[in-house]
Subunit: 140 residues, 2 copies
DNA sequence: TAACAATTAACAATCATTGCTAATTAGCAT
DNA sequence: ATGCTAATTAGCAATGATTGTTAATTGTTA
C-alpha cells in the first residue's frame, strides 16, 4: 500500500474525496503488518476519532481493496483480515495467540495431481505456534 | 473416511446410534471427492430421503469431523466444505465453476521469514481454471 | 420391551458483512 | 468563495452459514 500522501493523490484522481476518516485509515493501515480485521481497525480508529462509523471503515477498506492498495485474506479466524502488503507472500497463523505473520516462499511448491488445471494463484496458510507462545508453554 | 460398514461399528462403539439418516450420509460421503457443503449434502440426501433435516446433516458432519473421519476445509467459497479424504493434501479451486480438486505436493515448500515459528500444519489453496472451464473459454 | 438417543419442526440467535434511508456535513472544482 | 455532490452518520434491516433450543415424536439397541 502506498503512503498516506500518495493515497491522497490517488483518491482524488479516482474522484474520491479525501476525508479525515479516510486519512486516518490510510495512516492506520500504512506499514501495518498486523493483518487487522475491519473491527480491530474500527477500534483503533475510534481511539483517535470517536464517532467514526464501522460502516465507513468497511467502505474505505473496500475502496482500498478495489484500488489494489490492500488485499483481503482469509486465514480461518472467522473474519476477513486486511493486508497492506500486496506483494506475493503467504501467512502463518499462531494457534496460541492468533497472530498472523508474513511468509515468503523460496521455491514454488511442485505439485502432482493437477494435470488439467492452470494455476493463477496460490496461497498457503501455515498453522503452528509463534515464538512467544512456544515460550509461554515452556515456562508453564 | 472409513466405509459405511466400518462407520456403523465405530458409531455404535462411540455410543452413537446408527440411524437411516446417518447411514445415508455415510454413503453419500464415502469416496466423495466433490468437497460438498452441508447444504449440497442436504440436497443430495433429500433426493433419497425426503424430510431429512439440515440440522441432522450438520450434526452428523460435526460428529464425523470430531471422530476424525472428515475434515472441514475453507477455500473461500463462503461455506465450509467437507472432505472424507483426511490424508495430507491441498486444494485447487476453479474460479470458473468453483469445483475443488485435490492436490498433492511433491516437496514441502521451503520458507523464509519464519524464524521463530513452529509449523504444525500447512494448507495451500490454489486458484485458477480447471480443464473444462479453460476449454469453455477457448471455444467462446 | 424399556430407556433414552435421535430426529424433526419451528424457531431464535449469532457473527461478519452489506444494504438502505434520510439527515447532516464537508471536500474541492470551477 | 460557493455550490454541487460525495461522504458520513445513525439507525436500522437483511444476508447466509451455522449453532442453539424446545418439545413432540420416532427409532435404536442393550
Ligand atoms: Mn501479509
Ligand atoms: Mn480434498
Ligand atoms: Zn502466538
Ligand atoms: Zn472449472
Amino acid at each position: 500500500m502506498r503512503s498516506p500522501e500518495e493515497l491522497t493523490v490517488a483518491f482524488r484522481s479516482a474522484g474520491l474525496k479525501v476525508t479525515p476518516q479516510r486519512q486516518l485509515l490510510f495512516r492506520l493501515l500504512h506499514d501495518n503488518s498486523s493483518h487487522p480485521t475491519a473491527d480491530s481497525l474500527h477500534s483503533a480508529a475510534t481511539a483517535v476519532m470517536p464517532g467514526i462509523s464501522l460502516r465507513t471503515v468497511y467502505q474505505t477498506l473496500t475502496d482500498l481493496t478495489q484500488m489494489g492498495e490492500l488485499q483481503s485474506i482469509e486465514v480461518g479466524s472467522g473474519s476477513l483480515r486486511f493486508d497492506p502488503n500486496v506483494s506475493d507472500h503467504h501467512h502463518a497463523v499462531c494457534d496460541g495467540c492468533g497472530d498472523v505473520h508474513d511468509v515468503y516462499i523460496t521455491k514454488a511448491p511442485v505439485l502432482r495431481g493437477l494435470d488439467d488445471f492452470s494455476v493463477s494463484d496460490a496461497h498457503i496458510v501455515y498453522r503452528g505456534q509463534c515464538g512467544a507462545c512456544s515460550a509461554l508453554v515452556a515456562t508453564k
